[in-house]
Structure formats: C-alpha cells, structure tokens
Symmetry: C3
Subunit: 368 residues, 3 copies
C-alpha cells in the first residue's frame, strides 16, 4: 500500500522547502537619549529615549538567472525602538521599501515602493549621510523643505496621512549601469489613488483642489544624474536631480562633494522648490531656496560631522541650522554618537517670526 | 570570585540561543502593471502598479520528534508590494496563515488560522492555480462567488471586516495520509466571537440576524476528499468538497483534472452554493451555481493558461469570464507574465443588468 | 569602458550584503483548546482555540566587539496564533521587546522597550514560569494585580490603550554581572508622552488626574535584586523587587524558591501594592496584598505544576486561585500540556461579591 503525506492538496504549503533560499536578514537598531529646547516656545521636551537613524529589519535576496541577469527583492520593516511600534505608529509595515525587479546589462528595474531617485541619490551629499535625526539636514534643508513642510509637498504628496514624504508608491524604479562614472536614475509613479486626505491648495475647505482619495493630476517622476570620479572612494562627485510629485510640486537640486584628503569629505547642495501649482504666486512658501554645506573628517575610529544650511521660503522667516556630530566606531557595524545642533526656524509653517531650538542626542547605532 | 552574566533573571531572554533552530524564510514578491475597463460604468482604472499573486513573507519550521512524528509551524505575512502595507491594509499581520501542529502516521493536525480544506484543495483545479488576480477564476467563479460576493458568505463570514473570505480562524486542520491516492482533509472551527460586523440577513437593520460580534450559529466545517492517480504529476485527479461557514452558508464542489499529454492539463469545476439560512428562498443570490473550464499547456520555458467560466445566481444576472495568460520562466523561482480577460458581470451584487470589464496585467513573479 | 552597477546612489541599498550577519530567528507557537465557566455570571465561554503562552517571532543578534564587549539586540513580534493578528490586535508590532545595547564586564545596558526588572525577575518564582495563561498566576496574583487590574496600575500605566501592563517604553535597562550569586537589575523610564488615554484617578471625568497624553508625574523605575546559590540549577534563590510606574503606583515584592530534590522546585511570592497616589486611602483597591505558593515536579518527560494563591485588595472581595498543570515533552523544544484551575474572584474590579470560574486548556507548545 502506497502511503505518503505529500498530497496535492498540501503541495502549495510545502513546495517552497525544495527551492534554494537566498534570503538575507539585515537591519539597524539605533537608540539614544535626546532633548530639544523650545519644542513649543519657552518649553523644552523632556529627556526622551529616541533614535538618530531609521530603525529597520529587512529581508532581501538576489537570484542569478544566468547571462548576467538577476532577480532581486527588498522588504524592509521600519520601527520605533523606544516603543516597539512600526515607524510613526501608522506607516506601512514595509515602510523602508518593498520592491522586486531585475538587474542586468541594461541596468536595474524594480517595481513597488521606495525612495525616489532624487531622495536616494542626495544622501551621499549630506553631512549626516541622510540620517533623519534632528541634528542632520536630510529631512528639512537638504531637500529644501520639499519633504515635510506643507501638505502637497514631498515625494509622497498623495499618500496616506502620516506616510513619510520621500517615497513613491505604485512606482517603477530604473537605474542605468554606471558608464565612465555617469549614472542616470529615474522613478515614475502611477496616478493611482493612495487614500490621501484632501489638500485644499488653490481650492477651499469645501471644494479642495485635491479631494480625499484623489489621483495624481500628472504622472509623478523623479530623475537624478550623477558623475563620480572613478575609485572605491571617489575623489569627487556631482549630482543633478529634479522631481515632480503627484500634486505637481517641483524640486530642482544640484549637489557636489570633493575629498581633498582621503579622510576629508566636503559637501555642498543647492535646491529650488516650486509649489505654484497649488499655492498662488506671492503666497507664503510658493517658492523656496535652500543650501547646505557639510564636512566629514575621519580620525581613526572617530568621525567628525559638521554642517551649516539655510532655507529661504517666500514670505516666511528663514531657517538657519548649524550642527556638529561625533561618531566613535566600536566595530565596522557598531558605533556610539553625540550630536548637537542649533536651529532657527519659523514659529509656524507660514510665520515671519522665528524661534530657536537647541538639540542634543547621544546613543548607540548597530547594524546587523 | 565567580563572575558571570548568565543569571537567572536573564535566562529567559537568551535561552533560545542554545536550541537548534530550523526556521526557513520563504515568500513571494509579485508586481506588475494592470488596467481594468469599466471599473465603474464607462470609466477605466488608471494604469496601476499591482500584483497577480498574493505577496508573502513566511517563516516555517519542522522538528523531527522521532518515531515518524514531526512538529511543524507556519507564520505567513501578507503584504501589498506597491504600497508596502500589510495585505488589504487592515488584515491580520499573518494573513497567509498561522498554524502549529504535529505530523505522523496518523496524518497532520494543526491549530490556528489558514485556508479551509475546500479552499486549499480547489486551487489545483483552477487554470491560474488559485492565483487571486483578476484574470484568474479562484476568487469568484472557482468557488461560485461563495468567497466574496455577499456579507454572510465566504469561509470567514464572521471575521473582522476586511478579512479575506477563504480562511477559518480558531480552527483545527486535519489531513489524512494519502492511501492509494486517496486523501481526506477536514477543517473545524470553534464558535468564537471574532469581532465581525453585524449581518442583517433575515433580520432588519436594527435587529440583524447576526449582531456585531456574534458567535457562529453552528460549528463551521470544511471537508475535501481527493483521489489522484499515483505519480509525481498525476494523470488525473478528482475532488469532492463541501463547506458550511459560521453563518451556515453552504458550498458543494466537484472538480477534476486530466493530463492527456505530459504538457497538457485540462480542468473542470462545478459548484452549488446555498445561502438560504440567511437569505429567504426566492430572494436574489439565495442559490448560486457556477462552473469553470481550464487548460494549461507547457511549451519549454513558456506556459499557456486558458479558462472560461460562468456563475448563475438566483434572480441576478449571470457572470461570464474568459481569460488567457502566458508565463515565461526565467528560472524555477522567477517568471514574467501577461494576463488578459473579458468578464461580463452584474452591475451590482443584486442586479439583473450587466457590465463588461476588460483587464490586462503584466509583471514579474519571484519566489524566495 | 568601465561598467558597473555598484554606483554611489545604490550603495546604501546594498552595502549590508558585505557585512557579516549574525541574526538568529527564534520564537514560540502555542495553540490549544480552552474553556472557562462563568465568564459572565452563569455563562461559560464556548470552547475556543487559544494559547497558553505568548506566541512570538523574534530576531536577535550579538556582535563581539573585542575586550569582552558585545553589542546585542532583540526585536520580538508577538501574535495571536488562532487569528493571525498581532498580539491583542492593537499592541505594538514588537510587543515582546525592542532593545539594543552593550554587554561587558560592567554588566549589560540596553535601551528601548521590554519587561521591567521586576517583571523579568519574578517569572522564575511562579509555578507556570510566568506563562500568561488563565491557570497560571503571573498576570494577576504573582504581581498582586498590579499588572492588569485598574487603569493607572501596571508597569505601563501611561502606555497606549490595550498595551500589556508589564513593560516600560522609552527606558534604560541595566543588569549588573552576577557576583557570588548576587545580581541587581534596574529599569528607568523617561517621562515621555506615550499616547495614553486619560486616567481619572483623584480627579473627575472632566478634569482627570492624568489627561490624555500625559507625561509621567515622576520618573518610573523598577529594581530587582536576586541571590542564587551557585550552580546550573541553583539550590535556592531569593528575590527582592520594587517598582514605581508613571502614575506613581508602587509594588513591593519578595520571593524565594528552593529545590529540596533535583526534580522538585518549591516557590513562594509575596506582594504589597500601593495605589494611593491616584486612589484616595480607604477607597476600593487603594492597597492590595497577594501571595502565591507553587510546586514543580519533574518525572521523566513529564512535569507537574501546582499552585495556590490569594489576593486581598482593600474593600474588595478576595481572589483565591488553585491550579494544576501537566506538561509532557515530545522533545526539548516541543511539549503538550493540560491545565486546570479554579478561581474565585470579585464580580467586578470593585465588588465585594465573588464569582467562581473553572478553566481548562490543552494544547501544544513549540519553540523554534
């Protein structure tokens, strides 16, 4: 009598066991102490347990398909280490990214959700390497306030409330190969309804320019082009990038870095943002310029970070930020850090008056 | 002085490190372009980034307990690759399944949540192998609309709003071994309150037949029996299945497939659904019949899928669907696909008038 | 022509591939049948599919930094196996714990969210080893009702609604090394707003003592000190512990166990809880005493668990619980179990009258 448990009805459940698996688990945990003064005028935050970097738990894999072709995927959970929730409590589980695609002689093409070409390219030109902490420049000045300042701006302007502002959902991501140091990166988004809340824009509260659940009014795209002098650590690199989001906010960026000494990296970025599609010209924030200067200096296991930047929105008070940070590596995967910053910013998003916030944070950063 | 960090208070946190681990990570990422016409009469969807298959990230393991006995578990996250959220935004994290149990000479018994016996068995008789995409038949015609058409139908009729309709929660899953090609599969659910919204049924809006948070009015069960002609790829297979859900909707299914040539699989399925427990006889949808015919033909790395089916609910317009698909394998784990379908369906769930939708999708499917 | 896909813009996405990974996946799946009588007076629960232990899927790693120093982290998902949701449907994804830190000659220091020193230390003195099931004593009597009985009590008294009551978020966790059998464990929490609902306390519904989103009125802390007679399975152990939560509820605990025979463990715990900061003296529950006696006896692959305990809140009916359990190991990682208990408890949290509940559960427990 033949007797076996491997029946048709169960094949679906177990067939994966025979496939070669190539999943790598990776991630970052970063937690520390932080304090900010003047979070509301005259009031400081309590000392909190927070983070300097995004905390993530990721799953990725590549499969060699032969002839130089590869399939690849990334699924990246983001979380808050101090409370154990997913990032921002309400963001997508795979907030980091969820993408699948192919890589070959033609470059790399992926589908899903992830950082746009501009947002992914710009971090190498920011003195905190794109970390989202308060002392860094990435979230605000490095992208000219485009990412977070106002409803309708940011890469994900028609995403669900609470989503981070530097990704496209429902998108195609294409990166060319690097030819003689040149690379072009393009992100294209569909017009799909992503469950966004209404954006008043040039409309009124009852007749908003973008109703709740609106589709994009034009295809969102993001393009970045880089030239890097060849070498493992390029002597210099130049970035040109532009992006138009689902509500037709536009960002133009130029950035460069140079390494006059192997241990020294000097950076500069300039942005111009145009929100006139949904903010009438001459209204607060309809245009915005920003720039950031940065320096990294490596001393043995230590690394010094310095940055200064300004943001100048139309008819709104200037933002000015100065930051200093220090990282001390305990291993290639683990370091401790101290960040200090001083930031003058508009009291509200449309104020002509300013407040000044001081911030410190100190903690531990561990990659796995 | 004895000095060690391994103290009692910490044993709990670290003891797992000594145990032999046998966790396998597996999953599927599938993303592509899709478009459907007449999603509302006269209006087409935009081109979207969507999926053809369920996207999953799973964790499973088996432990050999000796004497032919094994412990086994599955935890399967489901997600939307285009937005990074969990499946359907609000479904359970381990939407795919969460089950633990034992396997031995007696068969396999598992506890938790997963596909019912009927839903798990039927996929082998559907031309898209149970994939949930629009061109496939699984979600609608293959189970006669039982799964999704009306509140109170579907396997999970008293689950939380938004749950998928083909699973039992709080259930016991038993599969016999295969004896001479025969196998019996039984799923039994408890009557537990699962947080369902109210179902009006034969009651009224103020006095619904099933109040919010109601328990099952009878124990839900699902039974499937299969006979497969022995062999790695059986020459033919027959399925008989029936299910009664928590609101006493009933489904009866008979299905078969045959392989006249090694590369050719022909399939047929017939269903009868009875909703009379909560819809009065002679009201729309109280009974429903459906059938699906399918064909798979393998040509080298390519595979052709064809299907045609009808659903005939009482006093409601018929549904008629014709689909064609093509898969091209880049490896045993990765393929690209193109699906086309034409579907005539009732304008609403109780309409006697119809609309016609055309659908296309093309993308990449990657297992890991 | 130099041609490579490893461009600057993509380094961030793939750099982890070069790092040595040291992630271990671990977890527990436990599911079984359960039934409780008198869940409301005169009504029994249906037979349900439930759990005896917390179900978890964890990720952890340690990195040797040299000189006896290690970096370590834990990320622990909790879930409900019977429905596939995260624990309690609304709890943080990493409900088990999310912590990162360093370990060395100085002991171990971690940041994030996890069990407090008292809650982590006390489980070794409870006859069900801290399991949360109904027959066990951990959730209620072992910590004197401090964990769950009233808004404002429990370790996480200003956490989000639905959070479990035995953890600190935004906390620092320090454990000394073990010196001659002695160990000290300290948890300190920040005052951060964790999104708690209002707690009326000594205020009124309109002017609650703790408004929604209140910060802690004093720094929460938890301290435990243990002495264990050296050895892999200590002959005896003593625990002294105290905790003050964010709403200044206080708990004092003394516990001990002894092993007169290698197979026999006898345990006793005594608690005193003081809620007078937010409940006026002389009101129900303002003070509370509890004690638990327990026994574990190992017989080959079997293990017998016995326990009896009482809780005596001020002006409220006493709780009395007697439980018996049996575990049978199928392997070092897998066992089946049967638990029975009889519990007399106040009809409501402030009642002077009692009801009696009988409970049984039987299932399978699998570690991976």
């Amino acid at each position: 009598m033949k007797k076996s448990l491997v029946a048709l009805a169960l094949l679906g459940a177990f067939s994966g066991a025979h496939a070669q698996s190539s999943v790598t688990i990776y991630g970052t945990l970063d937690a520390g102490f932080a304090k900010t003064t003047n979070t509301t005028p005259g009031v400081s935050s309590p000392t909190t347990i927070g983070k300097r970097d995004n905390n993530k738990l990721g799953f990725r894999g590549t499969e060699d398909l032969g002839n130089g072709l590869k399939a690849l995927f990334h699924l990246e959970i983001r979380m808050e280490p101090d409370t154990g929730t997913i990032e921002g409590v309400t963001r997508p589980l795979f907030q980091g990214q969820s993408r699948v695609g192919l890589q070959g002689d033609f470059g790399m093409v992926r589908l899903g959700r992830g950082l746009t070409a501009l947002q992914e390219s710009t971090v190498a030109f920011e003195p905190w390497n794109g970390l989202p902490n308060v002392a860094g420049f990435q979230t605000d000045l490095q992208v000219g306030g485009y990412r977070t300042s106002l409803a309708g701006s940011g890469s994900d302007s028609l995403g669900q409330a609470g989503n981070s502002g530097n990704r496209f959902a429902n998108a195609v991501f294409y990166n060319t190969p690097v030819y003689n140091g040149f690379q072009l990166n393009v992100t294209w988004g569909s017009k799909e309804n992503n469950g966004a809340p209404a954006i008043v824009g040039r409309g009124t509260a009852t007749v908003p320019q973008y109703v709740a659940g609106a589709m994009a009014s034009a295809y969102p795209y993001s393009v970045s082009a880089t030239y890097s002098a060849p070498g493992a650590a390029p002597q210099y690199s130049i970035l040109l990038a532009t992006e138009r989001n689902a509500t037709e906010a536009k960002l133009y960026q130029i950035a460069a870095y140079v390494r006059p000494l192997p241990a020294l990296k000097l950076m500069a970025t300039y942005n111009k943002q145009d929100l006139e599609h949904f903010i009438a010209a001459g209204r607060p924030n309809s245009e915005m310029n920003s720039w950031v200067l940065g320096l990294n200096y490596t001393m043995g296991a230590g690394k010094l970070l310095l940055g200064y930047g300004q943001k100048d929105p139309e008819l709104v008070a200037k933002t000015k930020q100065m930051s200093i940070g220090y990282e001390y590596s305990l291993s290639p995967r683990t370091y401790v850090y101290l960040d200090l910053s001083n930031k003058k910013l508009p009291t509200t998003a449309t104020s002509t008056t300013s407040i000044t916030q001081n911030h410190y944070s100190a903690g531990i950063h561990h990659n796995f």
